[in-house]
Symmetry: C2
Subunit: 157 residues, 2 copies
């Protein structure tokens, strides 16, 4: 018998707790995260891998610091992450001749292929996540969340 409690957890949870937006957000975010992580794990990837690959596709070769800004991953954590991606042959790390502090990270052909596959997985999982909602409802949710995110983004100066 499983000791997992994520089902029973909120089955009889106090109404006061069940209705708190902050708690709802945390709970659904965890469910979403698990869906994504499980799915990506099946492809030997983690969500950070995906984020970096997407950033590289949209911005082209970039320094580690740039990738850090683009993805929201701390530059101290980026080191090991890029090691993993390089080990898998998905990216290449080369010193930047124009600025010897920097590394230039670029995607390999293999990385591009992998990214294409991950795109599909990620889309599938978003669909699974939002399964109980209609199209317009999904747009509403994304819209509302986007406004919250922008509102609470640290003031740009």
């Amino acid at each position: 018998m499983s000791h997992d409690m994520s089902d029973a957890a909120d089955r009889a949870a106090p109404d006061r707790l069940r209705g708190l937006p902050s708690r709802l957000l945390a709970h659904v975010a965890m469910q979403a995260d698990r869906l994504v992580s499980d799915r990506l794990a099946g492809a030997d990837a983690r969500k950070w891998h995906y984020a970096v690959l997407v950033a590289l596709r949209e911005s082209g070769p970039a320094s580690q610091a740039e990738l850090s800004r683009l993805t929201g991953i701390y530059r101290s954590d980026m080191v090991a992450l890029l090691n993993e991606l390089a080990e898998r042959g998905l990216v290449e790390r080369a010193p930047d001749p124009a600025d010897r502090r920097r590394n230039v990270i670029s995607m390999t052909e293999r990385g591009r292929d992998r990214l294409t596959r991950l795109d599909g997985l990620v889309d599938d999982v978003q669909d699974e996540l939002l399964a109980p909602l209609t199209g317009p409802e999904r747009d509403q949710l994304v819209g509302l969340l986007g406004r919250l995110r922008d509102h609470h983004a640290r003031s740009p100066q």
Copy 2:
């Protein structure tokens, strides 16, 4: 200069990443969590403290295992948590004479007072969190999130 990146993080984030519901959820949930934690920290409390106190108010004295189910906190983590609450004189731990495996946790008068204060703080923070949304929009968001949560709740058997 601050090293904090939660502002720049998604400022130039790739559209593909910005629009992913799972990523939006994670981001907003983190913002919400920070709001709550910061506010509660000012009252020498953490969100788990609040959850346990609410559960005790709604269910009356309960065993640790019951509190665990009600709040979603693992029973292994409940031990230290109840220690903290007991240290602050907010709850009392007593062996259950009817079932010597159990402890009966009950709220003290001090706990009830504290809970009342925390209720206010938590409400304030929810309001701050949802500040950019109108009343109906808040209801929509909560409704949509609730449906997602219920849909992804581990199937009862």
